[in-house]
Chain length 113, copies 2
């Protein structure tokens, strides 16, 4: 497996609450984060059935990465996304779990067909 | 006390997670919400020492009201703001408390002098 340089990520202590809340304040990004929760292997942009173009999907993942919500690594031509659950839990205990729980009662975006 | 019509507020069931997170994703708004927490009587815009103009303050409160985070009532010339803690707790259990707790570790905005 070819692994090239990963894009920049904020360190754990650099993660800011306002940035995390902003990153999670978009319904599509929230859906992506729900899809990543509990998936330690990570997922690529194309594995998500979200009603947005690939470039918009890429943009959303960039917002999540820059806020410290996800980690992105390059594997060949794929960019694989994982949730930074440990970092978020250490920085803001209970926050991600509470938001994911709150999101469960929200309307789901339907899969793009 | 003269009480005129209040501005429009979403009903409890109309409060959306993404809107709440967006409303709380601004450091000034987060500071305002922290100031309102536990203050049942409510506070007016001018009672906050935040480094923004009055019109910006008014805008921030409008965003919070439209998201369902605060209630605004008119008392004479004052618009008094209270946190919709019960509604938020019923809609998204633990969310507000977790975010307020996370905010405690964040840098405080300094009071405007």
């Amino acid at each position: 497996m070819l692994t090239t340089d990963s894009p920049a990520h904020p360190g754990r202590e650099e993660i800011e609450l306002a940035a995390v809340l902003h990153a999670l304040s978009d319904p599509v990004r929230l859906l992506m984060v729900r899809g990543l929760a509990g998936d330690a292997d990570g997922r690529s942009c194309s594995s998500f059935d979200v009603p947005v173009t690939k470039s918009t999907c890429t943009h959303h993942f960039k917002v999540l990465r820059e806020a410290g919500v996800i980690h992105q690594r390059q594997e060949g031509t794929r960019r694989v996304n994982t949730l930074r659950e440990e970092d978020l839990e250490a920085r803001f205990p209970g926050l991600l779990a509470t938001i994911l729980q709150a999101a469960e009662g929200e309307p789901q975006l339907t899969a793009a067909t």
